[in-house]
Symmetry: C2
Subunit: 119 residues, 2 copies
């Protein structure tokens, strides 16, 4: 079945969440939002592109930092309201320069930082 981006279920703001996962290690790197334009840009260029809700503009991941995400495979969930991008991540995915944004763990009721910046 040919893929129709309009067949996805976007929220009231026209956005759909996208989870980025390291295609090799399986590490979950981040979650951000796409709209139809950023999804089209991602598929056309092979560079994962989100929609920045804070800046209100397309956000080609790593365009300024060089920490690009190259798309390996895009997957769609059963409800068609969430995306999973298997990516090749250059350097850190997180703006704190950590590999993953999920560097805070709950352990024994407290928060523990479990990863350090890699650059």
């Amino acid at each position: 079945m040919a893929f129709d981006p309009a067949s996805l279920k976007y929220n009231a703001d026209g956005l759909i969440p996208c989870i980025a996962q390291d295609h090799a290690s399986g590490e979950v790197l981040m979650m951000a939002w796409m709209n139809a334009a950023s999804l089209a840009h991602t598929l056309e260029t092979g560079q994962v592109t989100y929609w920045s809700r804070s800046r209100g503009e397309l956000w080609a991941k790593g365009a300024t930092s060089g920490h690009v995400q190259t798309l390996v495979e895009l997957r769609i969930d059963c409800d068609r309201d969430c995306l999973l991008a298997l990516v090749s991540q250059e350097g850190p995915a997180c703006h704190t320069n950590r590999r993953s944004c999920f560097y805070t763990a709950l352990r024994d009721g407290s928060e523990a930082v479990i990863a350090e910046p890699i650059v």
Copy 2:
């Protein structure tokens, strides 16, 4: 730092997305939503509990199907607006009886079903 559930950033509906990942294999199983009550239930019981937006009620994953998710570790992202639950998943996570909800891949511009029901 002691964890305060009120320190998370919930959306206008009081919800925060939670990604469930198989703690052993690294497979991303699903994404669903939590509110403060479902998060508290998850931490109290060790059984991952979402908020069902369609039913408008707490959704203790697997309560009827037996396909429970036992929490191994909860992680918080840098923006505190997304959760990652490392889980031990009993059977399929998806309501289609597939292990993961992300069983549809985009390949050569078409959709491909890459996993079959396991029960």
